[in-house]
Subunit: 80 residues, 2 copies
């Protein structure tokens, strides 16, 4: 079983990495770029047959995978 | 218009960051975790009315957003 977690900065939180990429793209001729925001995608392979997998992955997100002060997360689980 | 790019390591490429997270999760009691792999999600806001947006975003991926030696990328475009 696999879970995919997308961790991204909350709206309104400054994203210096994204700004650096946006300005680099502009310098390279990609003038159509208005904004860039960068997050993480965490693919977790879990043992099969975990009944409460979504709950467990939510606990992982809250405890270690995201910083709840500045980041939000979104979980997708799928049978492999 | 928005494009979302997911950049992840190619299969077979070692992911030390993912391994560190996997072992940290194990130490915290999440024994069901078998493997973790970490990638980036890059959300790009583009000016509206770009005809060949998908082609342009593919060029961005090849030129700056990914390292084609060790990384693969996947593009999703959507009208905002």
């Amino acid at each position: 079983m696999n879970a995919k977690v997308v961790v991204s900065l909350k709206d309104g939180i400054l994203d210096p990495e994204g700004q650096a990429v946006a300005s680099a793209l502009g310098r390279m001729g990609f003038d159509e770029v208005k904004d860039v925001r960068i997050g993480k995608v965490i693919e977790i392979e879990l043992e099969d047959g975990i009944a409460d997998a979504e709950v467990r992955v939510k606990q992982m997100c809250e405890q270690i995978l995201s910083n709840p002060v500045i980041e939000k997360f979104h979980i997708q689980t799928e049978q492999s």
